[in-house]
Symmetry: C2
Subunit: 81 residues, 2 copies
DNA sequence: GATGATTACGGCAGTCGTAATTATA
DNA sequence: TATAATTACGACTGCCGTAATCATC
């Protein structure tokens, strides 16, 4: 998500308090796991491919739902306590 | 999810091709992260608490959505290739 | 004393960061 | 030659498994 938003691995890495290489490896590992390129590499940075857009929109929604799950679980726990 | 389904850390661990201690630690870490107990420990095993049920239902749906995300992304990638 | 979860502890895998390399304009 | 990504490589953190311990019936 950070790479998609920034358009650069380097800038995204700074945002995530990481350096370029590990983040680059994460992207490559994810593409490998999915069996699909998510980004087009350009000399100016990274550009989302259609498959990347599809994955990005799912990822955003799923992460939002994780937040909801955490909040609801905490709420249920406090209700009990 | 496995522990909830089996009702025992040990049985769940076997199902996951793991041993008891790391799985027990995962559960404890998750409870710590959420700040809430998910299971009641009984001498016969683990029983879901209400907060655990809430978390379980969210977890199931979220993992199913991850599968959908993967499938759709792969599909988009192949459509492009 | 048996069953089942948890804690201690040593070893290994995976991920990080720095440095070097590759690629394109 | 400048920018940006990737690969090489050494170091460290974190997770696993075995063994020991705690707790309840």
């Amino acid at each position: 998500m950070a790479v998609a938003e920034e358009g650069h691995v380097g800038r995204a890495a700074r945002k995530l308090h990481l350096t370029q290489p590990p983040l680059s490896r994460h992207i490559l590992a994810l593409e490998d796991e999915l069996g699909t390129r998510l980004f087009e590499r350009t000399p100016r940075g990274m550009m989302l491919l259609p498959a990347g857009e599809v994955f990005l929109s799912h990822a955003r929604r799923i992460l939002a739902e994780v937040d909801v799950a955490i909040a609801r679980t905490k709420g249920a726990g406090e209700g009990e306590a």
